[in-house]
Symmetry: C2
Subunit: 224 residues, 2 copies
Amino acid sequence: MKNKKAIVLLSGGLDSTTVLALAKSSGFQCYTMSFDYGQRHRSELNQAQKIASSFGVVGHKVFNIDLASFGGSALTDGSIGVPEVLSEGIPVTYVPARNTVFLSLALAWAEVLGSADIFIGVNAVDYSGYPDCRPEYIDAFERMANLATKSAIDGCVMTIHTPLIALTKAEILQKGMALEVDYSQTVSCYQADSDGRACGKCDSCRLRKQGFADANLEDVTRYL
Amino acid sequence: MKNKKAIVLLSGGLDSTTVLALAKSSGFQCYTMSFDYGQRHRSELNQAQKIASSFGVVGHKVFNIDLASFGGSALTDGSIGVPEVLSEGIPVTYVPARNTVFLSLALAWAEVLGSADIFIGVNAVDYSGYPDCRPEYIDAFERMANLATKSAIDGCVMTIHTPLIALTKAEILQKGMALEVDYSQTVSCYQADSDGRACGKCDSCRLRKQGFADANLEDVTRYL
C-alpha cells in the first residue's frame, strides 16, 4: 500500500475532504483533483486548494470543464434556483453525467501518473438521490475503466474507492474527526458566498447540519 | 426513428463523417460534437465545422477540454513525435481515456437534449489497437451510462451506436460513397497542416490510403 499513487476527487466539501483524510491515512501518495465546471458555488474551489495544501498532497489540479454550456441544472444555470425545501425524486441540483465526466478525467490523469486508485466521496445513504452516487453505478464505471485504457491492457487493475458509500453523514463525520479533519475549512453549500459561508437552507446544508446533530458534534460550519 | 435526436461525435475524419452520413440517412436529427482537446492536428476542427454545415446538422458544439494538460500522448505532447513506421502494441498516438472522456461529455449533452442515441465512429478492424475502440469497451460504457443519469432512472435507455465497428476501411468508404460523402473534405492525418493537408506517412494516413486502394477508389485525400 505504501507509496502507491491515488487520485482523490476533492470538491472541498465535507465528504471529499474526509475521503482525502482516509486515503492519506491508508498510506497513499495523494493527487487531488477539483473541477471548475461552471458551478455557482465556485468558492468551494478556493477551499479545495487550501485543504489540499493543508494535507500536503503531492499534486493538486484544477481542471476546467464547462458543464454550464450544457445547462440543465440549478448548479450550473443561474436561471434555475437552488431549492430550499425538499421535493420528490431527484432534485434540480443534479448535474447531468457529472460524476461520469469527473471520473473519466480522473481516469485519464491516473493513467498518465501510473496510478491504479481513484477515490471519490459518493454516498448513497444521506444523499440527494443522484443516480451517479449509487454502488451499481460505481461498479459499472470501474468495469468500463478496466477495458478503456492502455494500462488495463497492460494488466493494471483500476479500483474506484468509495469509502463513504454506505455510511451515514454522522458516521462520515466521526471517521473524519478521528483523523482530525478540520470541518470548518470545508464548504458543502450549493450557494455558498465568495468567502465559502453556507446558506443553511439547501439540500446539501440540510444533510450536513443533520449529520453534525446526529453525531452529537458541534456544527463548525460558517453560516451566512 | 424519424425525428429522434442523436449526438454524433465528429472529429472531421473519414470514419466519423461516414457515421454522420449513416445517422442522418437513418432519419435522426443530428447534433454533432467536436473536441478541442489540445491535439496537434487542430485543423480537423475546421473541417468538422464545414462537414457539420454541409450535412445541415441541427446543432454543432466544439467543446474545449485540455487533455494536453495530462500529456502522455504524441497527439497532445509536442515533445513526443508522431511515428511514421509501424510498431508493436498500442502506438504512442493513444490518448489516455480519450473516448471515455468524449463519450461522457456526449452523455451529458444527450441527457440535456433528451436524446437516447450517441453515435461514435470507432472501428476494431483497420485500426491502431486503441483499447477504447473495442466492442467490449463500448458495451461496458453503454451499461455504465444506463446507470449514470436521471434519464436512465426515468426509463430512457441510452444506446451507443458504433455502425463501423466491424467494418474494414474499404467497407466504410463504400458505405459512405453510397451516401455521397465527399471524402476530400475529411482529415484523418495526425499531423495535418493548418489547411488540413495530410502527411501520408502516419498510422492514420496509412490505414486511410490502404482503404481507398482496397475499395478500388481514387484517393481524394489532399496530401502535403
